[in-house]
């Protein structure tokens, strides 16, 4: 990794001034190196998006800031800078690999609204009719549980008060009702 376009001598002068606390020189130095460092990062990380490139660039600038005392004014500036860029790119690649290992890739599945069938009004009506029929066919306790909890959307406590049964009994009735409805509707679809 070399960069003939960065004027090492003048950058070295700016860094010398920055080491003495000259903020203006430091800003000028960072503004001068930023486009070149960005270019190097883009070249090395061709697959990286804009945000990732900026992340790496800012990492480099922060590293330059942190280790600015390690710059020896008697030596050229550019090799010093490029060594930092190289280190941060390696760190960035390691971080990327670490994150990738932890991530689980999920294939794009057909979600509710992208499938034509789910937007089919007729299907919806047919399903709704089948559902009403299935609910009507449920035993009294289960039907009441479904009506109170799923259709009227009462809380378990409210539904228990209305029906005069316990919360536990309502949970059992709902569970059984859902299982019955699932069975009935799958048979209807077949």
């Amino acid at each position: 990794m070399t960069d003939a376009l960065l004027p090492s001598d003048s950058l070295g002068e700016l860094m010398r001034a920055a080491q003495q606390g000259d903020g203006a020189s430091y800003r000028e130095l960072l503004k001068t190196i930023t486009p070149r460092v960005r270019q190097i990062i883009k070249r090395q990380r061709g697959f990286a998006g804009i945000a990732e490139v900026e992340d790496l660039l800012q990492d480099v600038l922060l590293s330059v800031h942190t280790v600015r005392s390690t710059y020896d004014p008697a030596r050229p500036f550019v090799p010093w800078l490029l060594a930092i860029v190289r280190n941060r790119l390696v760190d960035g690649a390691r971080r990327y690999a670490r994150i990738s290992r932890r991530e689980i890739h999920v294939d794009e599945e057909d979600v509710t609204f992208s499938e034509p069938a789910t937007n089919d009004d007729i299907g919806e009506v047919e399903d709704a009719a089948a559902l009403h029929a299935a609910v009507r066919a449920l035993p009294e306790g289960q039907r009441q549980a479904i009506e109170l909890l799923k259709l009227k959307e009462l809380s378990l406590k409210e539904a228990a008060e209305v029906s005069g049964t316990s919360v536990g009994a309502l949970k059992v009735a709902t569970h059984r009702a859902m299982a019955t409805l699932r069975r009935t509707l799958s048979k209807t679809r077949e």
Binding site: Q20, G23, T34, Q58, T70, P79
Partner: protein, 229 residues
């Protein structure tokens, strides 16, 4: 944070910093301090005469190899914290480490028994000397290396541990009787290599970006050098 804002932020209230002295000079300063400290430690254990008298040429060759390894590893550690310096000293330090282990093997008796070597419980004293006696050296070295160490934390820590282990090993050899180089090879070589391994694995905790000095803008940035958004 926008990169231009970051640059403005970094330039605002910039504090002056003192450039590091050349790596060789810093390595020499630490090595001299380490030699004085270990010398005092050995004298404190008042066993120098017993050791020097009973040891053969192989013993001294190993000690010289260990000292050379320690000095080269020290230089490699100090060079590793300065971006852009040639890293040849790392190679030389590794070569010296191999040679040191080689001298120990070469000076070992041909018919040694590994069971005896591993059962040499008196070597725990040497392990203690290297670990406890080397701890202050490691502490000072870590402080001296901290400014550039986050760039190569594992490498810097590994060479620092090799330097400390090598020199503390010499101190241990000078303080306690070592009749059999096979024992020294197994125990001293083992503990020095273990130190290097542990240092390499934990280096990024010790030399984290968040712990590095000359970062005066901590409010705006995460500790790992990553800008906060």
């Amino acid at each position: 944070m926008n990169t231009n804002d970051l640059i403005e932020d970094l330039g605002r209230g910039l504090e002056p910093v003192t450039p590091l002295r050349p790596a060789g000079r810093r390595a020499a300063a630490w090595s001299i301090g380490a030699a004085v400290y270990l010398g005092l430690l050995v004298v404190g254990m008042s066993a120098v005469n017993t050791r020097a008298g009973g040891a053969g040429a192989g013993f001294w060759v190993s000690q010289i190899a260990a000292v050379v390894m320690g000095l080269l590893a020290t230089r490699a550690a100090f060079v590793s914290v300065v971006p852009g310096l040639p890293q040849r000293s790392r190679v030389w330090a590794v070569v010296a480490a191999v040679l040191w282990l080689g001298t120990l093997v070469a000076a070992s008796p041909r018919d040694f028994d590994w069971t005896t070597v591993l059962a040499a419980s008196h070597e725990w004293v040497c392990v203690g000397f290297i670990l406890v006696g080397g701890a202050p050296l490691m502490g000072v070295l870590a402080v001296m290396l901290r400014r550039g160490a986050p760039l190569n934390p594992a490498t810097t820590a590994a060479f620092a541990a090799l330097a400390v282990g090598a020199l503390a090993n010499v101190g241990a050899c000078m303080s306690l009787q070592h009749a059999n180089n096979a024992i020294t090879f197994a125990w001293h070589g083992g503990i020095v290599l273990a130190l290097v391994g542990v240092a390499a694995l934990t280096g990024h905790f010790v030399f984290a970006w968040s712990a590095a000095p000359s970062r005066s803008i901590g409010e705006n940035h995460a500790g790992d050098g990553t800008p906060r958004r």
